[in-house]
Symmetry: C2
């Protein structure tokens, strides 16, 4: 039924598109482009290749933090799989990556009520001496509350940040909550604290701490930083509710090793008449180590490889070159995408349009963009081609993900099929980022949305213009 | 509204009860008994004491495996709380308990695809040497499949049991699946295996291994036994799906220390004219160590203490003595309940009726029993008094829980308000058995069901008769 209906439906849309584009005479997309988009969408909705790719990556490689043996295995896996799928120009672009080792961490409440709590060091945190750090705890909500404390309050204490991340579809809850994780240690150290423990930046209701990157400032002492689960943060708050002094011992053997060599892995579906224009499809190959990186970012890898594979399978070839870039080390400072950017300074202008998938398994719920406002009608046409997927129409404030940040700053247009993040932070950066979290149906829908958008982005009859407006602040 | 309706409703029921009991002339329950039952039910549905008790136990004591410092703290907690609530005859009955220490366990797949998997030693398992055990793995479904293997198949191998526990309301899925955990190590060792790893006996969809007790036979070598989560069992099965040999390394520092002294904690609401008849309310004070024992069995402790507290708060006193017994060491061989039974050999006959709560947070979904069939009409009357809670009517094959097993074998009648176990095994024996798993509303309903049943059990105008039929096999 659905397949039979689609040609008719596409024809109706075509009439509409043609009318909409009448002002500039040249339609943005040909009838054949739109028909191919519909074909891609349909094929994506029954394609099991992306799911199999995540399954293979998580089973055969598993955890792959920057610098680890898993990181190397992931690069080999990506090269092998891109070649197996028949991508062109499969190659690596080397990147130096930090090599931080998690080690073991223990967090023990000593008073008023002794209890151990599962903990994870934050990525980049220094460790402790073997005997650990034993100190009274000062509880604060967030960075502002810390700054408002009377002088000396946290001296030689461990600071416990309690702020709870809000659940949201678009990830805004994460953006609002994450500064504590990134900046909390140095903020507390500047006030004399000896360590910090944070309520995990995540929405897990299981007893999983969420790790993630932190950064030290140049001036404050480097103190250890760990996370406990939401469940244990609640339990620790209950200990404070007793009115008694809370004392804990924190131990961690996390440590830095010398930087290591990793690589971005690149593969292409070559374009035809506009082959020197690149539509870049970014996802990241590295993952955090407690889980196996299924949704962060195995599904992103699978979406982008799946999209390119579907386009490769069409009878027609894309006008522009579709380039999949699986970036090294997104999680720990994006040195992979920076290396890619540095390697492409000379031909930066050839990167005309970008997509990034780094927000879980799907489904896609809206289409956003960051294009020259004059070209918004083109985005509108792509949005109409996505109509069977029933997406919302987002705004023009998309930023892409972290790996396209540098390109976005250069004004490269971004199309953003928005992955639904409502449940993403339930498992993000936890041991529970595992294969069972991948929803096959949502993943197929996401591939359909990306494939349609990528294809039309590559077929656009005009030229994608650089965005000259200042980049919007991150929400 | 509800409160105003109840006296009328109770009156209507009374007429019915009186008619039902007309055959033997004496009503099982007086009008006042039934009115008090309704009062108890209503009060229970708005009583926050049980929830506060679990919160206090999990926060102030936390994990309390037999022999641990938490075990001692739990005994002190129970004595303090029973006294605070004004129970009579608060005392301990000492019990010798095993003192097994979990230590650390690591399970690493070495080939074909290296990955670490979170693991927990099964309770009672021996550990390994520091270097661990490295061996190829033989995958079998269950004990029957192991027994069917050709001779020599598992010699010097690690046996991986894959059988998945089925979800069920009444716990039958657990009963069917758990023999692998209890007997698997010795069954495999008898065939020459060097260790076993089991798919957790539990329904968790998170990455939590479920621990739980295992037992060695006298004849087979003692080999280490660990569990991995359902998620990791799936991942390990995917490694087998490659067709390649799966090789793992297992390390565990679990070990036995000399047995320790613990105690059952007892408190009473004294009876009146039948004070020498005991209605025993059992739950267990110990817990496994990865979590904090919120639903296993903090809620059982809270239900039984809450029920006694509500009965104590009535204007009328119970006819029979309500005795709450918080048993030591249910998890690891029920030595606590055995010690209680041994201490009461002389007055065993005075224990006329038993209740046990060891199946989570509720709600109660049915009323079952094990009574002399001639007294089933009394259970029917109690069931009718529970009508506002809309329970199902279970059969007469109840066994009570593990702690009343000895009493049940002696023929003591059991009334069993059946706690709904559908979700219980999602967190049972995992690190995720934490306070947030306690559903306040379900807990109140469960207390209401137990309070009504316990009260009427204590007020029954006749004498509870010993059950003479053979105890039914465990489903």
């Amino acid at each position: 039924m659905r397949k039979q209906n689609h040609p008719i439906f596409s024809a109706i849309l075509l009439v509409f598109f043609t009318a909409a584009s009448a002002a500039d005479k040249t339609p943005a997309f040909t009838r054949a482009d739109l028909a191919a988009a519909a074909t891609l969408r349909e094929r994506a909705l029954s394609d099991s290749t992306p799911y199999q790719l995540v399954e293979s990556l998580t089973t055969e490689v598993g955890p792959r933090p920057a610098g680890s043996s898993g990181d190397k295995a992931a690069v080999a896996w990506a090269l092998r799989e891109m070649k197996r799928l028949g991508f062109a120009n499969v190659r690596t672009i080397e990147a130096t990556v930090p090599h931080w080792v998690r080690g073991e961490a223990q967090f023990a409440v000593l008073a008023p009520f002794p209890q151990d709590m599962p903990t994870l060091a934050l990525g980049g945190s220094v460790g402790t001496a073997d005997e650990g750090i034993e100190a009274d705890v000062v509880m604060v909500k967030d960075l502002a509350a810390l700054a408002a404390l009377p002088a000396g309050t946290v001296k030689d204490r461990i600071v416990f940040f309690t702020n709870r991340m809000a659940r949201s579809q678009d990830g805004s809850g994460y953006v609002n909550a994450v500064p504590v994780r990134v900046q909390g240690a140095s903020a507390a150290a500047a006030l004399g604290a000896s360590a910090i423990v944070i309520r995990s930046i995540g929405t897990s209701s299981g007893r999983f701490p969420h790790t993630g990157a932190m950064r030290y400032t140049a001036t404050a002492p480097r103190i250890p930083a760990v996370a406990i689960s939401n469940i244990d943060a609640d339990a620790l708050e209950r200990q404070f509710a007793s009115g008694k002094t809370v004392r804990v011992r924190l131990r961690s053997s996390s440590r830095d090793l010398p930087p290591a060599l990793s690589a971005n892995v690149v593969g292409e579906i070559p374009g035809t008449d506009r082959a020197n224009e690149i539509v870049i499809l970014g996802a990241h190959l590295d993952s955090w180590d407690p889980g196996v990186g299924a949704i962060d970012d195995g599904t992103g890898v699978a979406i982008m490889m799946g999209v390119a594979n579907l386009i490769k399978g069409l009878d027609v070839k894309p006008r522009r070159t579709i380039r999949v870039v699986l970036f090294a080390n997104e999680e720990f400072g994006t040195s992979g995408s920076q290396a890619y950017l540095a390697a492409h300074q000379a031909d930066a202008a050839s990167h005309v349009l970008g997509f990034e998938a780094d927000f879980g398994t799907g489904p896609v719920w809206r289409l956003s963009s960051r294009v020259n406002p004059a070209q918004l009608p083109v985005v509108d046409e792509i949005y109409r081609a996505l109509a069977p997927l029933k997406l919302a129409r987002g705004g023009n404030e998309a930023r892409g993900g972290a790996d396209l940040d540098g390109w976005s700053k250069l004004g490269m247009p971004i199309l953003e099929p928005g992955l639904d993040g409502t449940k993403y932070f339930d498992v993000h950066h936890t041991a529970n980022d595992t294969m069972d979290q991948v929803d096959p149906q949502a993943l197929r829908q996401a591939v359909a949305a990306f494939a349609t958008s990528v294809w039309l982005g590559s077929q656009f009859s005009g030229s994608w213009e650089r965005v000259t407006e200042a980049k919007p602040p991150r929400r």
